[in-house]
Symmetry: C2
Subunit: 504 residues, 2 copies
Amino acid sequence: MTENRILFQGYHSKIISAKEAANLITDKMTVGSSGFTKAGDSKAVLPAFAKRAETESIGITLITGASLGFTTDNDLAKNNALYRRMPFQADAGLRGKINEGDIYFTDQHLSETSELLENKHLPQLDLAIIEAAYIDENGNIIPTTSVGNSASFAKIASKIIIEINESIPLNFKGIHDIILHESYPNRQPVNITKPDARTGQDFITIDPEKVIGIVYTNLSDSAAMVTAPDAKTSAIGKHLVDFFESEIEAGRMTPSLMPLQVGIGKVANAVMSGLAKGNFENLTMYSEVLQDSTFELIDSGKMTFASASSITVSEAYYKHLLANFEQYKDKIILRPQNISNSPEVIRRLGIIAINTAIEFDIYGNVNSTHISGTKMMNGIGGSGDFARNAYLSIFVTQSASKEFNAISHVLPMVSHVDHTEHDVDILVTEQGLADLRGLAPRERAKLIIEKCAHPEYKEALIDYFNRACIRGGHTPHILEEAFSFHTSYNETGTMKQNCLVNLL
Amino acid sequence: MTENRILFQGYHSKIISAKEAANLITDKMTVGSSGFTKAGDSKAVLPAFAKRAETESIGITLITGASLGFTTDNDLAKNNALYRRMPFQADAGLRGKINEGDIYFTDQHLSETSELLENKHLPQLDLAIIEAAYIDENGNIIPTTSVGNSASFAKIASKIIIEINESIPLNFKGIHDIILHESYPNRQPVNITKPDARTGQDFITIDPEKVIGIVYTNLSDSAAMVTAPDAKTSAIGKHLVDFFESEIEAGRMTPSLMPLQVGIGKVANAVMSGLAKGNFENLTMYSEVLQDSTFELIDSGKMTFASASSITVSEAYYKHLLANFEQYKDKIILRPQNISNSPEVIRRLGIIAINTAIEFDIYGNVNSTHISGTKMMNGIGGSGDFARNAYLSIFVTQSASKEFNAISHVLPMVSHVDHTEHDVDILVTEQGLADLRGLAPRERAKLIIEKCAHPEYKEALIDYFNRACIRGGHTPHILEEAFSFHTSYNETGTMKQNCLVNLL
């Protein structure tokens, strides 16, 4: 515990242990915690609260930026310490409880949670728990590897607990750009006209009167799992690179493309690796998360600037980044998630949004959240914020998966819709790329089946489409068969047998 | 034909007949025409082109603001003069051809069409046909009762035909506020911070070199059909007024509410009539269309200002408005539809968006466009622009319709999704209002069935939900039964028998 992390005199008496902090939480509180895709989360107080719930019947509504790191969400769920969770999660244990109906999960666009809190459309926030690199001389905090909803939580919550993380170097100041909206009806434009625009302050304002505890930690963020590109994800990356090159040739974009948003995961990483190999230059990013691939593009000189709400990287990159932080300081910004994901800024900058689908259908509707229409995976995250307002909205997935390609990810009808046909421009699988711009549903169906479907499912999809067209309609469907691929899988373990039955 | 409608000298030689103008159109042209919900449409050239297509094999891609008036869309469709139509339509004849697959319809968010054209994601615009009140001394035009996409069409199109409508009074200048975005990457914020903000010019810039013809007309816009509130629509209006009053009581809004967007139709009109009776004051509107009910609120002193992209009113109000235009001039603005429907402005102003659903499901997903999941009605219009970015996103519909309530509008699963669960805050039928803010899917299902479903369908919906819950999942469903209401209706003419079968 070193004194130079608290430069404000009034706070020294507030230093407490994580256990003491956890004891300040009462049953049914609504708690807002820092943390966005594992970065900058509460590493002491929430775990101590989960521990407390092992032996005590107590629970909270927990609102975060996005997913938490370590086993925090799992431990909270396991010990029945969560009544309600929002706006995103990515933990298998918590997911299980959500799907059993034991924990209420409210799946929100990541740009909207702070708006809903500000507008009092959600319960009043009793407590904010926010990780900080240090506290400045006015009692304000310098955030760590994410901003998420922390600035809004600090503004709205009745009480605040600060977690000072000593593993973050003291030069970690200057990369955050914090803006808070004025209240209605006095809102002003978000004055961001390029990814590197700086319009706010580089700290989060804290009312010292609200601070009820300061806890020290010394833990690094949970590391991101980075998977090397394989044949499928590389093929998807290649289709996208070819597409971007053809857009440049057609005069619609320059070799700098447009600012990029890329979702998390192995497909996204493969796409970024593809960009590193293509004839692109002076790329920029206006996204949610800065990943290994972002820093690889920066290191290679292909990318000049990257804006997001968090840094979520592998252990190796995390160490490299913190040790060489000065060389990245003028190339990255972390913003509140309602600004990184702001509809206003996304449309103004003209973002290319690349996100992963669980499945999509022949008319271009995308399911990002639900397995078989019922079981929640992680949540919509920021994909809706970006897809709905992007210059180009791109969704990627593999055409089929499981042994013997038992699951087709291209379907007659998706079992849950997160992104409607109106918000999807380009679909990509390892099979190919379907450019849906300006097309009507029947045209889309033919193109999606031709370009994106796995060869083993093409015949069944064409058969469904042709028989649906006989019934007619702008968007031909046979409602009683629309989910036959899904129900076949549930009954027989493969979507294929059903396809064959349909063909008879 | 009077000279004072063309103040620019270079245009006098370009006056031609509607038939001559229609002959300037060639096969496969992409044509952009003024017209937004019947207002300010092409009343001479497009009808003359439809006539030409009676005897000639010729067709175009037609892009408008929204729907056209009179029988223009019908006549174009009937004579096979349309290869493709976007972004909206509301004509039974055209709709029939679309649903037969004879005409490709691209259903777009109304804010996006001009963006897609600017970004060259749609074909190059060969010709713009734009109605004007008159031409000023620089060759620029004063629009009439709508702006729609006209300013973008004029900027982008290679050639322009102007229709001067002499039925519009010459004092019809000063209510339009025209802004065009800078091209990427030089876009700036849309500087609108309140509904009455004026930030552009009150005319549409025209390059005189592009003008290939000027045609005179003297026809009023097609009148809006205004239906008086009935028991059902009045009940919906009352539920909403009660809700707004409770929001005021809870301190979340003032009696001025927030700027209103209200869709077209009888339910919307009933809601507006309800507002006229409630304890509201200094209301404002930031919407797409100004309807009779808007002017009634202005006349009664309840509404101080209304911004939209068109004026679509009954014949009586149309005459009254044109005859008394000076008294409304400082109370209304007409904007381009990418500004009236701008995601940026909608979120900044904090709009209350009230739109009509065809059907919604127990989890809060809304279908605004497709009958039985297949047959297009009109298109999504601006409902997505508003719902996705609104302060409150409200959808209204009747709980059941047809003889013996054969159709339930509250369903296990909607047959087409235009607005996802993430974008729907409040659902209202004549039965009641479901406030979904912050709720998880299982909570929403119980509330929607309780508050909104028709009594004759409640049992079947509860039964579906309970049996789905046994299977589990965040959003419980029985995929093979999800559309059983729809398929029952298709087979037996009622959704009810099926419900009873399910209960056995």
